[in-house]
């Protein structure tokens, strides 16, 4: 098996260099944003509620997503965390895979997974309907459900 080692002083293509630089900057910018988002996320869902993780159920989510603030918050967390995580995994794949076809396949798989889950997650947040719970008025008394 031939392992191709790049000439260390060979310049990257202009396009490739731009992409890697932007990815590098994105990891740092999104990282700072994610530190705040994740600490807020863990506090509000695990630490502050009286029974912590045991307080989480459909009603808990419906209560949060009744507010556009928490919809936007969770949407931002979804996008930033998944792109940050996927790009981090891409770095590992590039570092540890030796076979070029495997490296390319894993990277394609990573971005397909990311795109699918971002689409799924965004749709779940934006089309969420608390009215699918017949007991919704026990915890959201002012909610108007059609039909």
């Amino acid at each position: 098996m031939a392992i191709i080692i790049e000439q260390p002083d060979a310049p990257r293509s202009r396009k490739g260099a731009q992409w890697e630089k932007r990815a590098w900057i994105f990891m740092r910018a999104s990282g700072i944003i994610l530190v705040f988002l994740i600490i807020g996320h863990l506090s509000v869902n695990l630490v502050l509620p009286e029974h912590g993780v045991k307080a989480i159920d459909f009603a808990f989510v419906a209560g949060k997503w009744a507010s556009p603030f928490w919809q936007a918050y969770d949407g931002l967390l979804l996008w930033f965390a998944l792109i940050h995580g996927t790009n981090g995994m891409r770095t590992l794949v590039n570092d540890y895979t030796e076979r070029e076809w495997l490296r390319k396949s894993l990277n394609i798989a990573l971005w397909v997974v990311a795109a699918t889950l971002i689409l799924l997650g965004t749709l779940v947040i934006t089309t969420f309907d608390p009215c699918i719970d017949p007991n919704v008025h026990n915890y959201l008394p002012d909610l108007v459900c059609k039909g």
Partner: protein
């Protein structure tokens, strides 16, 4: 007298181990994130589907594993800040070792707050 060469195996110090730990925690968080997006997506299916899956998060074993998850996230978060400071702060590289200890101190303080709270939730009524 000449000293013996140190051999070719790279023996990094804290800088290397923090890098290793950053990668391991990152991978762990990534795979949890995939699962977590899928379990949350069940709120779009039915209250029963979501509640039954979230019930597994409330078990003792997953509750304890969650301490590991939060520990990984907090290390990755604050070590990430350290990496940014190494890159952008003029004296970042000089103080990377001290910043690693600062990361650990912040981590211990936050975990000291989180762990008792989480344990009381898991084992509380």
């Amino acid at each position: 007298m000449a000293t013996r060469p140190a051999g070719t195996l790279y023996r990094g110090k804290l800088g290397m181990w923090s890098w290793v730990l950053h990668r391991i925690t990152g991978v762990g968080i990534y795979f949890f994130l995939l699962v977590h997006i899928l379990d949350t997506a069940l709120v779009r299916v039915s209250p029963e589907a979501y509640n039954s899956v979230v019930a597994s998060y409330k078990t003792t074993i997953i509750g304890l594993a969650e301490i590991g998850l939060v520990g990984a996230i907090l290390f990755h978060a604050f070590n990430g800040i350290r990496v940014i400071l190494i890159d952008y702060w003029r004296k970042g590289a000089k103080y990377q070792n001290q910043m690693f200890w600062a990361v650990l101190v912040i981590w211990v303080v936050l975990m000291a707050g989180f762990v008792p709270r989480q344990l009381s939730h898991i084992f509380g009524a």
